[in-house]
């Protein structure tokens, strides 16, 4: 049984139209204007199905605004899905309203590191209080020397010296705040940890500390991760499997090594080719995407989401939505004209 399974997860947000219409719509909103069908909907997560096994870490990559954080918040049960199922340890938790889930027993088993540490930390809490908070609320610990010891230990694990325990968020640097967020989230040793860009505010040295810590927690406690990151070099280090999202849909999924070696979907190829590198020989031929990204607002159910920018597109892509299809190597990709060409990104060592 998978630790986590989502089936056809969907999240739509109603959108205010602009101008005079918007004003009318806004005024109607409180009075059931939505139900009268005047609203348009933004499809943030659109039919996402995937699993995470116990002890597995799964990477989630994709363009900014494609729905990664929304997907993360749905799974952490901070937002309610429009439809679809989320099973955690075999039980459907998708139907429990977010407001009630907060008090439930599963809460402590799913924890999340938020994308923007400034936004997610309480400005009135010192580092000590922020890290102690989940231990007190959900961990059954009480104030005292034991709590202090545990908090200090957690801060040390993420590389925060004791001097920072008495600081408030505004007295911390971006990377220091990010580490408070990580210490908080691992405090309860959850079975599923969702990390939304956890290392992007960190310098490479601290990043290495955090990546080793996550690897260690996985090996020692069997923790599972959903690791949202823009940095494929980092995903490669930590995640056995990776999901590539584009405009609300998973367009490619499979073992990280395989996908780096042989990406099938044209979007994945573009993504891999754009990785900046210090070393000029490591830079690959850029696939610069041209064309406008498609709007996520009421998108056509037949048109491939990548159509407007795809270098491979043909007539068929306009009339038939590509479905995830299995390929050798455990990869699934949603494209009518998947690439046959192998890449050698991320495998220099095996090539030379």
């Amino acid at each position: 049984m998978a630790l986590l399974q989502t089936v056809d997860l969907l999240k739509k947000f109603p959108i205010r139209p602009s101008g005079a219409m918007g004003r009318v719509w806004n005024s109607l909103r409180g009075m059931g204007g939505e139900e009268r069908g005047e609203a348009v909907y933004l499809h943030a997560v659109d039919g996402v199905t995937f699993t995470i096994e116990a002890g597995e870490s799964v990477g989630l990559v994709g363009e900014s605004g494609c729905g990664k954080s929304t997907l993360a918040r749905l799974i952490a049960r901070l937002q309610d899905p429009t439809s679809g199922a989320i099973a955690f340890e075999g039980r459907n938790i998708g139907g429990i309203p977010a407001s009630r889930f907060i008090q439930g027993e599963k809460r402590r088993k799913i924890q999340m590191v938020f994308q923007d540490p400034t936004e997610s930390l309480n400005p009135g809490f010192t580092t000590f209080r922020a890290v102690a908070d989940p231990l007190l609320r959900l961990g059954g610990m009480r104030s005292g020397p034991e709590l202090r010891k545990r908090v200090e230990e957690l801060c040390a694990l993420v590389g925060l010296a004791p001097e920072f325990l008495t600081r408030y968020p505004h007295q911390l640097s971006g990377g220091q705040k990010a580490r408070v967020g990580i210490a908080r989230a691992i405090a309860l040793e959850p079975s599923l940890l969702i990390l939304d860009e956890p290392t992007s505010a960190l310098d490479v040295s601290v990043q290495a500390v955090i990546l080793h810590l996550l690897e260690d927690l996985k090996n020692r406690l069997g923790m599972s991760y959903l690791f949202v990151s823009h940095d494929l070099n980092v995903v490669r280090l930590l995640c056995q499997r990776v999901l590539v999202m584009y405009l609300g849909k998973i367009v490619e999924a499979g073992p990280t090594r395989e996908i780096l070696r042989h990406p099938r979907h044209p979007y994945t190829r573009a993504l891999l080719s754009a990785i900046p590198a210090i070393n000029t020989t490591e830079r690959t031929e850029r696939v610069r995407l041209t064309g406008e990204p498609m709007s996520p607002i009421d998108p056509s159910p037949h048109l491939c989401r990548f159509y407007s920018r795809c270098p491979q597109r043909e007539e068929r892509c306009r009339v038939e939505m590509p479905m995830l299809t299995p390929y050798p190597g455990g990869i699934e990709a949603a494209c009518h004209f998947p690439s046959e060409k192998r890449e050698n990104i991320g495998t220099q060592t095996t090539v030379s």
Binding site: F13, A161, V204, S205, H230, I275, P276, A277, G346, T347
Partner: protein
């Protein structure tokens, strides 16, 4: 060297914070210059003072902060000699900043369209309907899909990266002379990242805008910056042209930093952090703040003053025994 007139000169800047448990010496004798049209990267460990330095340039100060030495000269004018009012006018028009945490820098209760319109109204000659046109154009340029429909969105309705991109649109809409971008593309996927960096690059070229690009991504710095400043514990430890810096780093910290960068071929076991922590900035510190972590430490490294050697033209290093 020939006499030049840099766009920005930070000269011997030192800054401290008072806290309940002591004085944090966040910047000490920081000096560097930026030319018109130049893109300068600032890299360095988390907590090394990159954001604090940019706040100082912007004239934004925490009440607990105190500048203890130095000057900041922008376009030939010393910023500390300006009145609060003059400074206020200058920043936003001539200096723009993209903050590290964009969602919190945007006004949460106003739509992104109206926030953008305000800035355009204040800093350009566009009026009436033109303003909306310019705002939509900018949103388009930062790759917000369907800008007409997203115009009335509130910050919480946008993704993290979209807020970042709206901030970028706001920052460049005033056609500044100097753009300070604190982790502007952090967390953005690489394709969007490339598009945004191209946009900043174009603005730099077309309008001769100077850019300070603060980033943890050395790959990004290597690709987009003319010069790089390396910071460690409130000190500038090395400044050099990008190519020189990566080809031949002279400060031991810079070398370690480059060595710790994940790339396409290393695996996790090979990835190591730089041993030792940043020193406690409240304590009495030796001249070289890296000394405790340094493999090449010699006795006199601890003695002031911290040297500032020019190992070759334009390559400065704050180390007595450069590599």
């Amino acid at each position: 060297m020939e006499s030049r007139n840099p766009l920005l000169a930070v000269d011997n800047l030192s800054l401290e914070f008072r806290t309940r448990t002591g004085v944090v010496k966040a910047l000490e004798n920081v000096s560097f210059e930026i030319e018109k049209g130049q893109t300068v990267g600032v890299v360095g460990e988390s907590g090394s003072g990159k954001s604090v330095m940019s706040y100082a340039i912007m004239g934004i100060s925490d009440p607990a902060a105190r500048i203890t030495s130095g000057r900041i000269v922008f376009g030939g004018i010393s910023l500390f000699e300006k009145s609060g009012q003059e400074l206020q006018e200058m920043r936003g028009r001539e200096i723009s900043m993209i903050f590290q945490s964009p969602r919190t820098a945007l006004n949460p209760i106003r739509t992104i369209g109206s926030q953008l319109e305000d800035v355009i109204y204040r800093h350009s000659s566009f009026r009436g309907r033109q303003i909306r046109g310019r705002a939509l154009d900018l949103l388009n340029q930062v790759h917000i899909p369907d800008p007409e429909k997203r115009y009335h969105a509130y910050p919480f309705e946008l993704s993290g990266g979209m807020c970042q991109r709206v901030m970028i649109a706001i920052a460049i809409s005033s056609n500044p002379w100097l753009l300070i971008a604190d982790e502007p593309v952090t967390g953005l996927d690489v394709t969007t990242q490339a598009a945004i960096m191209d946009l900043i690059k174009d603005a730099a070229r077309e309008r001769n805008m100077g850019t300070i690009l603060i980033t943890h991504d050395l790959g990004l710095a290597a690709e987009y910056c003319d010069r790089i400043i390396v910071m460690h514990s409130g000190h500038v430890v090395e400044v050099a042209d990008t190519e020189h810096l990566f080809m031949r780093p002279r400060h031991p910290y810079t070398a370690k930093l480059i060595g710790a960068t994940p790339n396409a071929s290393r695996d996790l076991a090979e990835l190591s952090s730089i041993p030792g922590n940043l020193p406690d900035l409240r304590a009495e510190l030796p001249a070289c703040r890296y000394s405790e972590r340094c493999e090449h430490l010699k006795e006199d490294c601890l003695e002031p003053p911290l040297p500032r050697l020019e190992t070759e033209a334009g390559h400065l290093v704050a180390c007595r025994y450069p590599l």
